[in-house]
Amino acid sequence: MEKKQKLICDQCKVELEELDAQFSYLGKSFRHKVSRCPQCGQVCLSEELVNGRMSEVESMMEDK
């Protein structure tokens, strides 16, 4: 994996940090560390995460 790119929250003009965010799907919720603005909490998910791990988890939950 290449080095995490620097991302900036356009609203707060601060750099995003790796912070917990909560997700839910099919009635279950869970937390995961993602890029998030430390001020306003805006999240930014990379395509790598969405089409990788997230899609895996979605598929797994659908099979359960």
Partner: protein, 772 residues
């Protein structure tokens, strides 16, 4: 659901092949063949011995019932199973039985008669370490074996197999009465009461006295009884069996005897039902049998002969049903999973393992057709969809695109219901996808229909099959009702259907509406195509919904012939599944939908002629040259290579179709302005394809950008200068990476997920605002 469940009782998946069924020992011939085919002779020998006890004897004298039952018998010649067996017995290098250090058992067993059956029984019991005593009235063992093979050879085989086992042999001992041998039979034993104290008694007696032998009044056939505390069984040639079945009896009864000793159950081995295994006829191609150069097959000859076996098993479902093949689950397993998944909400079972494939099934109904028992897995899936919808087990993200698409087709931008004056006897029902590909597909045929029957009405709308895929019973009822209303409004005309799937759906739920395919009408009303005389050789791909629709198929073929195009049948005619369009597979299990499409594309290398808009779209999108019959007849896309419109263009086409029809037929202006895309979006082809694959519309992308631009909620990548933002579109979250241009936006990437980001949640120990 119970009715569907019960149907699977007759599933033949586990039925053994007919060779094994014909075998007295029910030998697992497939496993033996497999081992032979791999050159593993010692392993094959072990399999055979485990089954027949004395391979050296059986391979010699068995009349090979298996070869008689082999499916190849009527084609070329049966697989020479006995020849292979002999080669294994001759070629195996490790024949000495393994020695197991088992403790001796206290129970004792008597065998009356040292023929093959008795020896088989004695062998099994001795290997279990029971104390075995064999009584033989003559002076040697083997019984009638001597008539069939050399004594030295079968004696050698007995010695080999009994190498690690002990038994007591009492030759020249004729048993006159079995009561003295029985334990605790005092009451029934008046005559020989005194004898009992001296003689040994047994827990099990096996009577195998041979052809015409003494039965000791034990009932035959299938006799077993309890005398005192002793279990007495009878079997073998005394019951009128031949030698191989007699040996099999001895081996089988040994199992019953042990169950009597252990659990006190006195049961004769059950007679099994004949196998219902239906081999896959496609695998049955002629291969001449191998003739051994010498008496016995060599290893290479064995392998070649074993390779002729087609490994019969009932797998019509796995061979034909895409769902069974792709998900690698046999129907019985699917049944169990579907049953579990249909438990109502609130039940203790929370699992729905069938969720994905139930949603993905294309409902081509081929499985029920090809199954020799016609088990209705297809119907069960259909039923399960509704049950699962009721229990709220279908992820909303599955249905979202299809339902939105249906709503659009039935909405003010695309739906149209018109008569051309007085309600006519016919109404053209093209289906919503035909015009979405190209408005010409609807306009040209409709104009032609009007030249023949000027009062033919028109109904543009979706047939509502998506709510059926979703299993939404309530919505289906509503949609069907609205469709019925439309039909009544038009004066109950005969619907001329251009889409076979719509026709199938309507027939199922609105049987009161008379339908006929456009192609039959064109033939009936005398359509004369201009003969093109194209050089390409096509194959005709009948949509799964037209399977067995002989009249439609005939009409299609005569129209093709009239247009002067060369077209041949696919190798299996119409016996194939869906093109991959049906069901919610493209979202629920995209890999499955892709697999199905590829399977259908590979049926022939020829380009296809289809008469379903969905088939055309699926094949063309994957680069297979495919023409719609209407392409040929009305010269719309006769090359079949035009790239198919993406989702946004499809919507636009529907609107355009409505607009053009109103203008050209009814000389009206469309009241509603076509929806316009809010921003102009610039996308590379690769991005556009990605957007299309994820079933995202340009208006969705605009919504993401709109939200980002108005709220400022976007992140900037300072290196690339791209912004990333997201928006929830119903049940999916759509991410867009973009950069603003002077006019509009350039889209660099789009991706979606189904999980919801819970923004109001507590994060990092701090409470965030909920309105972000």
């Amino acid at each position: 659901m119970q009715n569907y469940y019960k149907q699977f009782d007759v599933c033949r998946e586990r039925d053994i092949p007919s060779c094994a069924d014909g075998c007295p020992f029910k030998m697992d011939i497939l496993t033996v063949q497999e081992r032979i085919a791999k050159g593993r002779f010692n392993a094959a020998y072990k399999s055979i011995r485990d089954c027949v006890a004395f391979p050296g004897i059986v391979s010699e004298i068995c009349p090979a019932y298996c070869e008689d039952a082999c499916v190849r018998k009527t084609l070329d010649a049966s697989v020479q199973i006995r020849g292979l067996e002999r080669a294994v017995v001759a070629g195996a290098t490790r024949k000495t039985p393994n020695k197991y250090n088992l403790p001796a058992r206290k129970k004792s067993v008597a065998v009356i008669g040292a023929g093959l059956s008795g020896m088989g029984f004695a062998f099994r019991m001795a290997s279990k370490k029971y104390a075995v005593t064999i009584f033989e009235k003559s002076g040697k063992i083997g019984g009638r074996l001597a008539e069939q093979m050399e004594e030295a050879r079968y004696m050698a085989e007995f010695d080999l197999q009994f190498k690690n086992e002990k038994y007591e042999l009492k030759l020249n001992t004729e048993i006159q009465d079995i009561y003295p041998l029985c334990r605790g039979a005092e009451g029934q034993l008046e005559q020989s009461a005194d004898a009992q104290s001296e003689e040994q008694t047994f827990d099990i007696i096996y009577i195998a006295t041979g052809k015409g032998g003494n039965t000791f009044s034990v009932p035959i056939p299938g006799g077993c009884m309890k005398i005192g505390e002793t279990g007495v069984f009878i079997g073998g040639e005394v019951c009128g069996k031949d030698m191989m079945h007699a040996l099999a009896d001895g081996l089988d009864i040994a199992i019953s005897a042990e169950s009597f000793l252990k659990a006190g159950r006195l049961e004769y081995p059950e007679v099994t039902e004949p196998t219902g295994c239906v081999p896959n006829a496609d695998k049955l191609v002629e291969i001449p049998p191998v003739t051994p150069e010498d008496k016995v097959f060599t290893e290479e000859e064995c392998m070649a002969e074993a390779a002729r076996c087609i490994r019969c098993k009932c797998d019509a479902c796995a061979a034909q049903c895409d769902l069974v093949a792709y998900f690698e689950k046999m129907p019985v397993k699917m049944r169990d999973e579907i049953f579990l998944s249909c438990k109502p909400a609130g039940s203790l079972v929370h699992k729905s393992p069938a969720r994905k494939y139930v949603a993905a099934c294309t409902r081509c109904d081929l499985m029920t057709e090809v199954c020799p028992e016609h088990i209705d897995l297809c119907g069960m899936v259909e039923h399960a969809r509704h049950k699962m919808h009721e229990a709220d087990k279908v992820p909303a993200a599955y249905r979202q695109y299809f339902i939105r698409d249906m709503e659009f087709a039935n909405g003010p931008y695309a739906a149209l219901k018109r008569t051309t004056g007085a309600p006519g006897a016919y109404a053209f029902f093209p289906g919503c996808n035909l015009g979405a590909l190209d408005p010409e597909y609807v306009i040209k045929p409709y104009k032609w229909l009007l030249t023949k029957e000027p009062d033919t009405s028109l109904l543009l709308r979706c047939c509502s099959v998506p709510v059926d895929w979703d299993g939404n019973s309530a919505a289906r009822k509503e949609e069907i009702q609205s469709l019925r209303q439309d039909w009544e409004d038009l004066g109950k005309p005969v619907f001329i259907m251009a889409c076979m799937s719509c026709q199938k759906h309507l027939r199922e739920y609105l049987p009161e509406i008379e339908t006929i395919s456009l192609y039959e009408i064109m033939q009936e009303w005398g359509f004369t195509p201009e003969a093109e005389g194209e050089q390409t050789n096509f194959s005709i791909f009948d949509p799964c919904s037209a399977r067995k629709e002989e009249e439609v198929q005939a009409a299609v073929r005569s129209l093709i012939a009239a247009s002067g195009v060369q077209a041949e049948e696919l190798p299996k005619g119409d016996r194939h599944g869906c093109c991959g369009f049906g069901g919610m597979g493209s979202i629920a299990a995209p890999d499955f939908a892709e697999y199905v499409a590829r399977q259908r594309m590979e049926l022939s290398e020829n380009p296809y002629i289809v008469y379903c808009a969905n088939c055309k779209e699926i094949f063309c999108d994957r680069g297979k040259k495919t023409v719609h019959l209407l392409d040929l007849l009305f010269d719309i896309d006769p090359d079949g290579t035009k790239s198919q419109p993406d989702l946004t263009r499809r919507r636009n086409n529907r609107t355009l179709l409505k607009k053009r029809l109103l203008e050209e037929i009814w000389k009206e202006e469309m009241e509603m302005k076509p929806q316009e895309i809010q921003y102009s979006l610039i996308m590379q082809d690769a991005v556009r394809e990605k957007v299309n694959k994820q079933k995202i519309l340009e208006e969705d992308i605009c919504a993401v950008i709109d939200r980002a631009e108005t709220t400022g909620r976007r992140t900037l990548n300072p290196e690339s200068g791209h912004y990333t933002a997201y928006n929830e579109i119903g049940y999916i979250t759509c991410w867009v990476e973009y950069s603003p241009l002077v006019e509009g936006y350039e889209i660099h990437n789009v991706y979606t997920h189904r999980m919801k980001i819970e923004l109001e949640a507590v994060w990092n120990g701090k409470k965030t605002e909920t309105d972000m």
